[in-house]
């Protein structure tokens, strides 16, 4: 498979006075699955739509294999993209694919091949209107694969998948990337794609907040201590008095305190006479690192 990177450089998109994408730069490398993450409204879909030529950039550039999307002679054979929705409910999966097949020079056999690749052969003759969200996501991926591309651009493709679906998507994209493909997968939930991605690009309010490998993102997680007590009011008072900056009540009777050791928390609880039923060291969750980077407060 020919290797093509996705490069976004100083990309800006303004709608009137609203800046949807703000001087954004990042790359997605061949052989890697890159998670493009951020809260709803962060500018993910807009960025991906600019990348594939559906939306015009105000400034900056977004290229695939060094060229803009429309500069490729047959872009559908280079880049496979899918956005949410995008199905006529009255068509079957096979009819949907065959309607687009001529545009990428795909045969009827190729349509059946991609249906099989996403495990949709049995549903191929059913109308899309009756599909579950997970089946639509599979058909979206099949549509993206139609032209046998080396780059996949997938908008929220893990959204609504059950754990088995997420596991399937992971192995599918892993295989695609291992054979030299580039995958850019957007999601508003890190937890949904945490098992799938190699690299992360995190944006908020249209601007880049973080880009690294997933391993480097994990390294940002601070150690934390989980404290469980049956005295819920006393626990809340204790956390407020002793760890006002770093402690949060996760739910009644359970607190999480970041950046300290279990020994420190245990000693303080003993000194304050708090009844403790559980005391354990646990890393800060990756999700809370993500929420911290995007500036969205954890609602716990």
């Amino acid at each position: 498979m020919e290797q093509r990177a996705v490069e976004v450089a100083s990309l800006t998109k303004r709608y009137g006075t609203i800046t949807a994408v703000d001087d954004l730069s990042f790359t997605a490398e061949p052989g890697r699955v890159t998670g493009f993450l951020g809260p709803n409204g962060a500018g993910k879909s807009t960025t991906l739509r600019i990348l594939v030529g559906l939306v015009a950039a105000t400034a900056g550039s977004a290229t695939i294999g060094g060229r803009g999307y429309a500069q490729h002679a047959r872009p559908g054979a280079i880049v496979g993209a899918h956005f949410e929705g995008a199905f006529h409910p009255g068509r079957t999966a096979r009819e949907h694919l065959r309607a687009y097949a001529p545009l990428v020079g795909a045969s009827d056999a190729r349509c059946d091949e991609v249906l099989e690749a996403v495990g949709m052969t049995d549903a191929a003759r059913r109308r899309v209107g009756g599909y579950s969200l997970g089946m639509r996501q599979r058909l979206g991926l099949a549509t993206a694969l139609l032209g046998d591309p080396s780059v996949l651009v997938l908008d929220e493709s893990a959204n609504g998948l059950d754990p088995a679906g997420i596991k399937w998507l992971r192995s599918f994209l892993r295989h695609f990337a291992d054979s030299g493909g580039t995958v850019l997968l957007s999601s508003h939930l890190l937890s949904e794609v945490e098992q799938t991605v190699d690299d992360v690009v995190i944006i908020a309010s249209g601007a880049l907040r973080h880009q690294s490998s997933l391993a480097q993102l994990r390294a940002l997680a601070r150690p934390a201590v989980r404290l469980v007590s049956p005295a819920t009011d006393a626990l809340a008072d204790f956390v407020r008095a002793r760890f006002p900056e770093s402690g949060v009540i996760e739910r009644a009777g359970q607190a999480s305190i970041a950046g300290v050791s279990a020994a420190d928390v245990g000693a303080a609880a003993y000194a304050d006479g708090l009844e403790v039923h559980g005391l354990s060291e646990a890393g800060e969750s990756l999700e809370s690192v993500f929420l911290g980077l995007t500036g969205t407060e954890s609602i716990v």
Binding site: T46, G76, H88, R91, P102
Partner: protein, 270 residues
């Protein structure tokens, strides 16, 4: 370009819309043509008068021609809706994303839709005319009027009527491109074709300085291609020549298509 046309043909063929509309057209045209043909054929018994108060004293061949123009006068809404929905359903169901991803040239997508609607609209023309002529000729025969089906002139007119209905499908694609909201398009099309244009045509006929303008309205241009009109037979204005009507109707399609390209297709698809 041929790939884009094949793609559009497959899109049209793979939903229920085209045959549901086609059956509706055959039934609707038969009903309207039948009702009016019977009232013409039995005008003597019913004591019918025209809109101007004169007794209906039409040349029998003219009566037949007017009856055979009814599928165009009242049936053109079906191919026009088919054409419009070929564009608007892409926006309604967001399939426009995939369409433009795989065919980034937006002008080419519109052009492919203009061409792909032709065979379908032609089928609508043939079926609509067959339905109208079968019922209309039957009614005329029952009323003892000549059917005119032995006249070459009538057959030429029927042929042009099929072409007129075909062109209406193309106008629909232009209209759908200019106004991509499906609900708005359906409401505007039904309102315009069933209510506004008929009223405007009748009203314009009575306003002397602008009386000539009515024949340039799209519905009148379509009827001009058929060479006869229920409206003109009841005294509401006159018609252009068939080929002038053809040109005017294509003009509407082209203008709508260009507006669609400028207004919608050049914009961001977000």
């Amino acid at each position: 370009m041929s790939a884009a046309i094949t793609s559009e043909l497959r899109k049209l063929r793979s939903t229920r819309l085209w045959w549901v509309l086609l059956i509706s057209m055959a039934v609707g045209v038969a009903f309207i043509t039948g009702s009016i043909a019977f009232s013409f054929a039995f005008a003597d018994e019913l004591g019918g008068t025209s809109a101007t108060g004169e007794p209906v004293m039409m040349d029998p061949l003219e009566t037949a021609r007017t009856v055979y123009s009814l599928p165009v006068s009242f049936g053109y809404v079906f191919p026009v809706i088919l054409g419009a929905l070929a564009v608007t359903s892409e926006f309604r169901h967001r399939t426009i994303d995939t369409t433009l991803l795989l065919a980034p040239s937006r002008a080419r997508v519109i052009a492919a839709k203009f061409i792909a609607v032709l065979p379908f609209a032609l089928l609508y023309g043939v079926v609509g005319m067959a339905s109208g002529v079968a019922v209309g000729a039957g009614a005329l025969m029952l009323g003892g009027e000549p059917t005119g089906l032995d006249s070459v002139e009538v057959w030429q007119m029927l042929g042009m009527s099929v072409v007129a209905l075909t062109v209406w499908g193309v106008v629909g694609v232009g209209f759908g491109s200019a106004l991509t909201n499906q609900v708005v398009v359906i409401v505007v099309l039904l309102g315009w074709t069933q209510l506004v244009e008929p009223i405007v045509r009748v009203a314009l006929a009575f306003i002397e300085p602008v009386a000539g303008a009515a024949k340039f309205l799209p519905g009148a241009a379509g009827e001009a291609m058929a060479g006869a009109s229920f409206y003109t037979s009841v005294g509401a204005g006159d018609l252009l020549s068939p080929w002038a009507g053809f040109a005017v109707l294509l003009g509407y399609a082209a203008i709508a298509g260009v507006i669609g390209w400028l207004v919608t297709f050049r914009r961001d698809i977000a």
